[in-house]
Symmetry: C2
Subunit: 628 residues, 2 copies
């Protein structure tokens, strides 16, 4: 009974009523082009439906919600209390103790004066406290973007030769980076970043971490003549070519602090309760090393130190006694020969820092164990900001004794966490192609350039998607005995073919990129069916090709032509084409294209494969009994 | 009964056995990475499975089939007979009478001597007769590729100033074009042309036809100083700027012949039996106009004529008395400063002529009515070739009196058929976005350049596909009363929601480009479910989210993370995630990623939505009766 499906109905009559009550296929409700376009645009540009909480609210409430939407501080401000304040103090000071050494270090990466780095942990957190929505984020400079900023500008302007121009260009480039990122937000083009796959990000971050670490070899080895390029090969050449410049005092100091920082990091990773060990370690290193240099006058023994404000006298004249700089609007340069450079640098650093931010954000979940606990509201940002301000006002002069080498060690220990080997192994296990994408990003960043590595990885991942679309899977379905369910014959071994029927499932939208292939593929399925057993009983020669279309979510004009052509070819072969479970859009398009009334004939459209097979088997029987 | 699905089983007990006999979900059979890669590569690079007829044949037969595969002449040669020969004579001469005027005209388009144009209808058909497989194709030059070849070379080398170098570059560029096309074939990269959608081709061909026709205004109006550029604007500027050069004799002659040719074409279109009218018309025009010029010595009255072999005396010296040129290997130049130009021109014309060929091929079906009947075997190509050779040997001197204007008219009447307005209207009716792609190709070709127009249209079509992937549809399913079928709630209005269940169908492969969006979208569906009726009975609060996964043909690492994250979020909300009908690959990946054993629990996996709902409803009932 189970191997011959057409007899099921006779043997279980009460089931017959339900199985054979073939449900009529109806066309979808009408929607105008404008309506469709509107829905489509809404899903594309506003995927998070940001205004959904406004729906159905009274006008006054809407205004309140809008104000809270723009200034989230209005949301949490009224409920602020002492307990929250206490935890904000703790977390603010903790973040600041991390941010101060990192700020100085990243400024160093960008060839900028250290106080500029501190400002990035002073002003942005204040803005974020008012406008930001996430409670857990801490805003600051990002390592690889800083490196690229410095590297791109250094190629045309020397940071020591013309420090004011360099600073102006850095400010202008940063402005463009922000402008570019803001534009992405305003134009709701955030979906562009969706094309950065997890694999791309893992490879990119690991490559960037290595590039940044390599640059620290300058500080860690005490080399003075160092490559201006970022790639693996020029940097290594530069390291070994200048091996006579290596300074043992620097190396000793650097690697001691590096080991200390890595151990601290390891401890915090293993015991989340000791998170403060790794949070405090960089500041401890800075204080300790500064004291050591001050005590032993090590700056005269080959240990390079941070030189404060390496600016020209004219610049010092401009801001004579101010330790807190005035706003630097006037430093933005929107004219002159370097505008192109600033814009290009801004665009690249904008993309890269966005990528870095997303990468850190997306891998945040896996870092949960190491998360600084306690940041309850964005007010922690204000605490952090004030701490940094105090540092800027009173402690800045002390930093002139801080050795470069300790900054290098801090940077290396900070970025080393971006190399995520378990994640890479997971990608390898899951998807070999994704692993290749990851390697492209990694080696591209290391050996070609950060931008190109990223671009190559994105191109390869998009290429993979396009290949999937050009060659969609077509699956041969069989009936699972004792049920009305049709599934992949290769997957469900017990499923059986129905003689006279070829049941295929097309697993992709049909469009210009695959309609030619699909046409060939379906015809090959038919050939294979016919070749399989040519001596078969004539009754079981191919009568119907059933296409299960649930998976075809949309078709275009080429897709419509595909069906027309297929139908024509099949008619020549004396085979009928039956479509099952068309989704609304596909049904509508076929209906519109339907000049000869071919596709919408009710006996060619069914809701399930089971219903189609049952009905059509009955037809065959009817015919053959009439013939007799 | 129909609105409350969980009671169906009680009321139709014999059906219960079948419905409730939940079929176990099994993992797919194991396949190694190498096997998967092999299948994938085979489908990508050999979609037509060209060696399928070799399978299971004895070795000797295989050799015969291979020889026939490479030299199709071995296939049809042995069965050749007199009757076939007769029809080949008719069709060969017919095609030759079309090819001779077109060959001369297209040579003119490429600024090449007319006999070079005739060689393209003499040598390639011979090669094709031996190696070609299609019976209906006639090989010859293509209009827009000729124009681009001439235009690109003319920008650096003058065809009149240095005709030998120009000819050498043209030969070299053609060699590279062929080399490029052959490489695409050998490397099985033909799938690249799949990215040319029908809409792109319609727009491209119409634009190209207009560009080619615009160039003919030079001949048709008798202008001597004409723009070297191809765009609409420079050509029109050139036409009206030189209006004093217009020659009324030329205009009269040109438009008379053009009207004659278009009428002949129209007659053949309307009455397919009169196909010979339009096939013979160009040759009639050439003969008639040549005779007119010869009789009235019109070349002295402002009617430009084809000047034979506009080559330097040194070139004539090289081939003194040969009317049939020797092979031109020695004309290929693979060195010198113009190699880059030749390669670039070759690449562009290679792509463009491929595009043109495909466009003509793909729209061939719609031209069936106008098809030259009678070409039975590739031997017709040999007949055509001999006819052209006779022309080259004996009739060439006569062509020196052929007026340029008639060639212009022939070209315009030939390309005007490429403007397919009904097809454009069909695209508009079917898919507005495809129509935009078509306009991009059309206006890009006319106003920017042929290459850029094509590139823009391809980019826009790929962008559309990527957008579809970034924002896949998620559809809310409901039960169709009286059946076990779940379908789109918006499409099938009678379908009903099941309280406590949210049933979604995700209509695309889940990958890096959409996993973020899908996560947000699913959570929004849940929010909407909960917002819909917050005062609902507690029993019907959301318990299960069922994802119907038939449509998810593949996932990548980001897709796997999507499920993990979704599962975690749902657990926090106290909702269970149930997956229905996973396809093999997806199931395998989830299984491999499955560290905590979450997804493969049998009570989270079902074969159909119906089975899932039935089983889970029973669970809820069991729980609540236990609670009581």
């Amino acid at each position: 009974m189970e191997s011959n499906p057409s007899t099921i109905q006779e043997q279980s009559p009460s089931c017959l009523e339900i199985t054979m009550e073939v449900h009529s296929v109806v066309p979808p409700p009408h929607k105008s082009t404008i309506q469709k376009l509107k829905t489509r645009l809404k899903e594309t540009l506003f995927p998070d439906d940001p205004f959904r909480q406004f729906k159905g609210q009274p006008t006054k409430k809407k205004w309140v919600l809008a104000a809270q939407y723009i200034f989230p501080i209005l949301h949490w401000g009224p409920n602020y209390n002492l307990k929250l304040f206490k935890s904000d103090i703790v977390s603010g000071v903790t973040i600041a103790s991390l941010a101060i050494p990192q700020g100085i270090s990243y400024a160093k990466l960008a060839s900028l004066p250290p106080n500029v780095g501190l400002y990035s942990s002073f002003v942005p957190p204040l803005v974020y406290a008012v406008l930001g929505s996430s409670r857990d984020i801490a805003v600051g400079p990002v390592s690889i973007a800083s490196l690229i900023l410095g590297s791109m500008l250094t190629q045309q302007v020397s940071p020591t030769g013309d420090p004011v121009l360099f600073l102006q260009l850095a400010f202008t480039a940063t402005f463009f980076a922000g402008f570019f990122q803001a534009s992405l937000g305003f134009l709701r083009l955030g979906f562009i970043i969706d094309f950065l796959s997890k694999a791309t990000l893992i490879g990119f971050m690991a490559g960037a971490a290595i590039i940044v670490s390599l640059q620290q070899l300058k500080s860690l080895l005490g080399i003075t003549h160092f490559s201006k390029k970022m790639g693996f090969i020029p940097v290594m050449a530069s390291v070994f070519h200048n091996s006579q410049e290596w300074s043992w005092q620097t190396i000793l100091m650097g690697f001691s602090f590096l080991v200390f920082l890595l151990v601290a990091r390891h401890v915090s990773m293993r015991r989340p309760k000791l998170f403060w060990v790794s949070a405090a370690a960089p500041l401890v290193c800075v204080i300790l090393s500064t004291f050591l240099v001050f005590a032993f006058k090590a700056q005269h023994h080959g240990v390079g130190v941070v030189s404060l404000l390496p600016l020209s006298p004219s610049f010092k004249l401009q801001y004579p006694n101010n330790r807190l700089n005035p706003p630097s609007w006037n430093m933005l340069q929107f004219h002159g020969g370097h505008l192109g450079l600033s814009m290009k640098t801004g665009l690249v650093t904008g993309i890269i820092s966005l990528t870095e931010g997303i990468a850190v954000g997306r891998t945040f979940a896996s870092l949960m164990n190491y998360k600084v606990d306690g940041a309850k509201t964005a007010a922690s940002n204000i605490v952090m900001s004030i701490t940094v301000m105090v540092t800027l006002l009173f402690l800045m002069p002390l930093f002139q004794y801080t050795p470069n080498v300790v900054l290098g060690a801090i940077i290396v220990s900070a970025v080393v966490g971006l190399i995520d080997i378990p994640a890479a192994y997971h990608v390898w296990k899951m998807d070999k192609f994704d692993f290749i994408v990851m390697l492209c990003a990694f080696f591209g960043v290391i050996f070609i350039s950060v931008q190109h590595g990223l671009a190559i990885a994105v191109a390869v991942s998009i290429f993979k998607i396009l290949m999937q679309i050009t060659r969609p899977k077509t699956v041969l379905l069989g009936k699972i005995p004792g049920t009305d369910i049709y599934r992949d014959l290769h997957h469900y071994k017990e499923s059986v073919k129905i003689p006279g029927f070829l049941i295929l499932s097309i697993e992709a939208p049909i469009n210009f990129a695959n309609s030619t292939y699909l046409n060939e593929r379906v015809l090959r399925w038919i050939e294979e069916y016919e070749a399989e057993d040519p001596k078969m009983h004539s009754n079981s020669s191919l009568r119907f090709v059933i296409l299960e279309m649930s998976t075809v979510s949309t078709i275009d004009t080429s897709g419509v032509s595909f069906f027309k052509e297929l139908k024509r070819t099949m008619e020549k072969k004396g085979v009928e084409l039956v479509l099952v479970n068309l989704v609304g859009e596909v049904m509508e398009k076929l209906q519109r294209s339907n000049e000869a009334g071919d596709f919408m004939k009710p006996d060619c459209l069914f809701l399930t494969v089971g219903e189609a097979v049952a009905t059509l088997s009955a037809t065959i029987k009817g015919q053959s009994s009439n013939d007799v």
